[in-house]
């Protein structure tokens, strides 16, 4: 399948490129810190490369230098063989380089879909019959042809990003830079997005440069550059990078799920992996099956996975009964006959695609919207029952149920973090002498330093802002905390930290309801999952039950890999083996695989 590349044209060549932001603000913290430090690299024409690294590491800044959205301070940077410093090449470079950003709303200029696609070509003066042809072809390519006359604002998030691709495509570029373009999409939309751009790379010889936190996406690239603190610390093929898990983790990244699984298997079986094993998902699965079928090296004790503490299923804290909701009478139902019990002290994940009604459901839980039909009851303490049908209970719903919306950092408004956290406490009439204690406790539980309390929330980094906003809800000591996609937009390390914060809250006795479209994280952190589709609850249960069944529910990537490894093992052993339960993480999944191979072998020798 691999095509021989007979020409190796260098598309982007950087030599000792540095750049620092020129800040006019005197009190800005990062006044003199260079964002890009001495970067040298080469990217071949028609290749697909990923730039990885933590938030704030300078990857986006470097990408902007390529498109001359910023001008490098020092060093040589040439794109398409043209020097970015040459004024004459400026438009030649920019016209051939398309850029897709993270937030679809901030890159759509036109109100109407086709107007927006035309924006770029209009700017470079493409004349009429050709302009029309470019727009129509681009829209057809991304599958939005039927929506050409629609309003851009009415598209879904996934469609808006496809519109952004169409806008880029209509420019007929040679190079496409994607700056976390898939970060706000659900897994299905992300896959659709990626398949379009990968097709563009193959069919049109486009060079793709992607900046991403998604390691699975990065693993399908041809080359990876890891950027930390403005410098390239590692570069290589994905299989070379991911061969060294320690280094990957130190750089604030993580392994893609399929590589994580084989790495754990190799560890248990004392096998050393080579980079050839990690070349593709298929090679990983074949090798994983081979490793699993070897004589067991790990001791029986090592194969034991930690038992989950079963949450007392009788102790219900919140109950949703026959809940339906529509904006107005006769309008389609956003929620349709939802029945759901939330157990005291658990982490319950509400999973599903964007637009399936998750956010509408959780908005009911603290009385932001009232059910069209059905009701919600909460039992915060012994002997207390609050119902959404009783008007005076509504205020109390807010006392017991804390709600953290997606991107909560956008709700901050006070001069200091302290005052912002205090806002809710003031509103619920907490006595002044008690507030300070609660605020400090809340800041501590989200991992925010006490000294940050006196700083302006808008000076904090993105991750810290989010923590401050969450602290504002936690300070009100809700019994139930609802979090809508709390990790979206964070880098892998930020995600890990966010979830360990959530686990800590659970251990302190808070019941957690977690809204997510990332099935791997759901499987990893939730005690139970309820999966929604089109406003209906499809299934509720432990992740093991919900994902194990053969149904339309999207599976965690890790579990998908494990299933394929199982199949490969069955082929090797010429026998069917029993499936282990869905593991929470790669380590558990690896142990489960080895345990089921062991069982199969024992059964064979007994027979």
């Amino acid at each position: 399948m691999q095509e021989e590349k007979n020409t190796k044209i260098i598309e982007i060549k950087a030599q000792h490129v540095s750049y620092s932001y020129k800040n006019d603000y005197e009190d800005a913290e990062d006044k003199s810190v260079p964002a890009v430090k001495d970067i040298s690299l080469q990217i071949e024409a028609g290749s697909y490369v990923a730039i990885l690294g933590p938030n704030g590491s300078g990857k986006s800044t470097f990408a902007k230098l390529i498109d001359i959205l910023e001008q490098a301070d020092s060093g040589e940077l040439s794109v398409f063989g043209l020097n970015t410093k040459d004024e004459e090449s400026f438009w030649d470079i920019r016209e051939n380089c398309a850029y897709i950003f993270q937030n679809p709303d901030n890159q759509i200029v036109g109100t109407i879909v086709e107007e927006d696609v035309a924006f770029g070509p209009e700017n470079i003066g493409v004349k009429l019959p050709e302009l029309r042809e470019r727009v129509d072809k681009a829209l057809e390519y991304v599958g939005l042809k039927d929506m050409a006359k629609r309003q851009a604002a009415q598209l879904s998030g996934g469609q808006k990003q496809k519109l952004a691709i169409a806008g880029a495509l209509a420019m007929r570029p040679k190079l496409l830079i994607m700056d976390e373009s898939t970060a706000m999409l659900d897994p299905q939309s992300r896959d659709e997005f990626l398949s379009i751009v990968e097709r563009m790379q193959k069919e049109q010889g486009l060079t793709l440069v992607t900046i991403t936190h998604d390691m699975t996406e990065a693993s399908s690239c041809e080359k990876i550059f890891v950027v930390e603190k403005g410098q390239i610390t590692t570069e290589g093929k994905p299989e070379e990078i991911f061969l060294n898990p320690e280094k990957v983790r130190r750089a604030g990244l993580e392994l893609p799920e399929h590589i994580a699984l084989i790495t754990e298997l190799a560890k248990l079986q004392r096998v050393k992996l080579s980079k050839d094993d990690l070349v593709s998902k298929a090679s990983c699965i074949a090798k994983a099956a081979e490793i699993a079928c070897m004589d067991l090296q790990a001791s029986a004790g090592e194969l034991r996975t930690a038992e989950d503490k079963e949450i007392d299923s009788e102790d219900i804290i919140l109950s949703v009964k026959d809940l339906s909701y529509s904006y107005e009478a006769g309008a389609p139902k956003i929620l349709d006959g939802i029945n759901l019990d939330v157990r005291r002290g658990e982490i319950l994940a509400v999973a599903g695609r964007s637009g399936c009604g998750k956010t509408t459901l959780i908005s009911h839980l603290n009385g932001l919207i009232s059910p069209t039909e059905g009701k919600i009851e909460i039992y915060p303490e012994d002997g207390i029952t609050l119902s959404s049908e009783v008007k005076k209970d509504k205020g109390l719903f807010r006392k017991y149920v804390g709600l953290v919306f997606q991107y909560p950092e956008y709700q901050l408004f006070e001069e200091t973090v302290y005052k912002d956290i205090e806002y809710g406490l003031k509103k619920n009439n907490t006595p002044e002498d008690k507030r300070k204690e609660l605020i400090i406790k809340a800041a501590r539980s989200v991992g925010l330093d006490e000294e940050k309390l006196s700083s302006n929330p808008f000076e904090l980094s993105g991750g810290q802002k989010r923590r401050a906003a969450i602290a504002g809800v936690i300070a009100m000591t809700p019994k139930i905390l609802v979090l809508d996609e709390p990790a979206s937009g964070l880098d892998p390390r930020g995600r890990r930290e966010m979830f360990s914060l959530i686990k800590n809250l659970k251990e302190q006795g808070t019941t957690i309801i977690l809204v997510s479209h990332n099935m791997d994280e759901v499987a990893r952190y939730a005690d139970r999952v309820c999966y929604m589709e089109g406003g209906k609850l499809i299934k509720t249960g432990a992740p093991q039950e919900v994902f194990a069944e053969n149904n339309s529910i999207p599976k965690p990537l890790l579990y998908d890999c494990a299933v394929e490894v199982h199949k490969a093992i069955e082929e090797r052993l010429h026998t069917s083996i029993s499936f282990g339960p869905v593991g929470r993480n790669a380590e558990e999944e690896a142990k489960n695989i080895l345990a089921s191979v062991l069982r199969a072998k024992e059964a064979a020798s007994n027979a």
């Binding site: 438009w91 950003f101 107007e115 009429l128 932001l368 806002y423």
Partner: protein
């Protein structure tokens, strides 16, 4: 909540009025603006209502949409109504209480003033915002005022600014809704309390909204740069404006409508 407001929103019904050259619509809009301000009699108001109703039917805009677009200005219209009643002293006294006198003429004048404002909003919606995309409006303005370029007026830039402002109205409304919900779930209350407190409460919405707007502006500017935006020089258009015979005809018809209102004002007594 806020999403239901259709002020400034474009709704595509594919009507003839939607396809009409935006320059004709803008010129006619100005004509109607002037004409509506000249209306002082009930019979002219009735004529205006009839003309606007015909336009609404032509634009295939439902009464419900019109209702949602006048909803936000209803308090203002009511305020104008009340103010005119109290301010007008002459004529037949209907009610006298304390220092307040309500006369029949005052009542009629108040109603005319209030309705006039509502008609203004409806005709803005039908002729412009509901039937014309922001980009078309800005294209039309740019084309209508391009002679100002001689005087170094940055016509293109102003038109672009306007179209972007309009394009972001739905986005910002959605964001306002989200921020309000987040603050309400932290205990904010925008519906009760004194007016002063309510206004103060909105600070919790306005500050995050401003911060978000700056972020939008910053990112959009970079995105426009990346898409090779360099001002109006050398820019082509996907849908260039071209006056057709049908546009002229529509312009004449709309002028006739305005004339009917004026006739009702000055000839019928």
């Amino acid at each position: 909540m806020l999403k239901d407001i259709s002020l400034g929103k474009y709704i595509d019904t594919g009507s003839a009025l939607h396809r009409l050259d935006p320059r004709v619509k803008i010129v006619m809009y100005v004509v109607y603006l002037v004409v509506l301000f000249m209306v002082k009699s009930p019979q002219a108001l009735v004529a205006a209502a009839a003309v606007i109703a015909v336009q609404a039917v032509m634009a295939k805009i439902s009464p419900k949409v019109i209702w949602t677009s006048i909803l936000p200005v209803l308090p203002l219209a009511f305020f104008i109504f009340i103010l005119n009643i109290f301010a007008y002293k002459g004529g037949e006294v209907l009610l006298k209480w304390w220092k307040i006198t309500v006369t029949q003429e005052g009542l009629i004048l108040g109603a005319i003033m209030g309705l006039r404002l509502i008609f203004l909003i409806i005709s803005t919606s039908i002729l412009l915002t509901l039937t014309t995309t922001p980009l078309k409006i800005s294209d039309a303005l740019e084309s209508l005022f391009k002679w100002l370029k001689v005087f170094k007026v940055p016509v293109h830039e102003m038109a672009m600014m306007m179209s972007i402002a309009l394009r972001f109205i739905p986005t910002l409304l959605e964001e306002t809704d989200k921020i309000m919900k987040a603050q309400i779930s932290r205990g904010a209350d925008y519906d009760t309390g004194s007016i002063f407190n309510r206004v103060k409460g909105y600070i919790t919405v306005l500050i995050p909204l401003f911060v978000a707007s700056f972020k939008h502006a910053e990112e959009l500017a970079v995105a426009m740069d990346a898409r090779c935006y360099r001002g109006g020089e050398g820019r082509t258009k996907l849908n260039p404006l071209k006056l057709k015979n049908s546009d002229w005809l529509a312009g004449v018809l709309l002028l006739l409508g305005a004339a009917v209102i004026l006739l009702a004002e000055y000839l019928i007594h």
